[in-house]
Amino acid sequence: MMLDFVSVSKRFSRNAPPALEDVSFAVERGEIIGLLGHNGAGKSTALGILLGMVAPDVGEVSIGGISVQRDRVGALRQVGAIFEAPAFYEYLSGRRNLEVLTAYSGGVSRAEFDEVVEWVGLSGRIQHRVGTYSHGMRQRLALAQALLPRPQLLVLDEPTDGLDPEGIVEFRHQVRELRDQFGLTVLLSSHLLSEVEQVCDRVIILQKGKKVHEGPVGTAGERRLVLEIRSPMADSLLPLIEVEGGERLEDHHYAFPSEIEPSALLARLIAAGAPINHFARSEGSLEALYLRLSSISPAE
């Protein structure tokens, strides 16, 4: 077990609602797990507790079997982290920034340093001032600092925020590579459904500080064809959909076996006399799940 989050609760002030409430989950070594939720769902608090920056009121987090709350330094030896909009010392070069930061990790060898810098694609600019870096280069530097010295768990907080499409694709590729080549466990916190869907093996959805879903992206996230179908006679539409092997997920969202051809299905529904106002493929199956969960209060 790489990460064990056990019954963690946190409230920042007495009158405020809980930022996290009895959240538990575990992450196996080599897994890429997504932490999904709206702004304010508790993702940042969960990461803060995991990284020892926030003290939980109740519960405990262990990394590689070492409790963050009891031995923060020991637990963090295994972790590298990237935050949204990573801040560096602008007046120092990329190299100097890494040297300042890695000094607090006990230092790294020159060979390891150069290898990581080359791997993230910063070799040509590492001597330049960070103030001259583009957002994408800062993100590469952030990845480099997270990988020095080699961690076992990589924590990514909204890592692709502000990146251009090419940068996003490359970052996703790097995350997969880190797992596949180096065996890293990755915890990816994001509000981008497509990102989590494309990168993660499993997803945890937080809502108002509570865990409302945990499961593999492939099955619980509905790998079936999800369509948004709107009709003024929704009740009479449902039996027709069931005949086609479909299932209602939420208002206007229906899941069908993946082999169904949407245009043929639309033709059949119209032929069966169903008035259809809107017929569209839902952008992602995880989206359907997420929307469904979002429409339900955690208390329910």
Binding site: F12, S44, T45, L47, G48, L51, G52, M53, V54, A55, R72, V73, G74, L76, R77, V79, G80, A81, F83, E84, A85, P86, A87, F88, Y89, Y91, L92, R96, E99, V100, L101, A103, Y104, S105, G106, G107, Q145, V155, D157
Partner: protein, 283 residues
Amino acid sequence: MTFLRQLYWELFRLYARKRTYVGFGIFLVVEMLFYFFWTREKAEAGMAKFIERVAGGFDEYFSALTLAFLIVVFTMLLLGVIFVSLVTGDILAKESEDGNLRLLLVRPVSRFRLLLVKFLSCQIYTLSLFVFVGVSALVVGVIDRGWGGGMLVWAPELPRVSLFTWNEGLARYALAMVGFSLIYLPVIGIAFFFSCCRIKPATATILTVAICVADRILSAIPLPAFDPYREYFLTSRMEAWLYLLYQDIPWPRFIEAWGWLTGFGLTGFVLGWMLFERRDVKS
């Protein structure tokens, strides 16, 4: 070794900032202003009168060392607290504001060590500032008055004027600069404490300067009723660096004052650490 490496990189970071050199440059400008003041005809005439009265031999005692001493005292009185508060107030609060702190806090290092590195770097930085001011003032003095002569030290806090030969004066001047920087530990302690709080860096600086100025004003109230309490004021204690320029250094008094001030400064560090240790830093 790891601790020293962390300290080295923290100092590297501090000295790599452009504003460090802007700050040093401002000190140099102010030193030059005081140099011009002390070498104007009227000021020099006043000094000549004073020196002839207390020691005799204006040319002997209005030397590079005496001039440097006068420049340093007034420059530090004007800027010392402000600059030290600025640097120390920034040390954590600015990193917290800029977001750099998060990247440090996820490193496998205790918060105590992180703060200790930063606190010590502030003290070393202050020492380097005093050395810079001391050396630059001396260079200005030597250019103006030449190498050699005696040294005359006078301040209201001194029981009488101190007179030194050139070599003795040089040693005392160097010792006083180091002592002066050590005496600043309470200012570092106060600013560091505020820097550990969840406040803006400018607020940490302003609060520290405000405390020091208020302390100075209260300690300087010339009423006999204040006399028994004067020793409890921070700025009164901080005048202890002048003991190093007494004709015969009263070491027990200096050590007592230095111990008191060090205790005060370290208390600021400990309180700041206790506060910071409990502080939630959200990512």
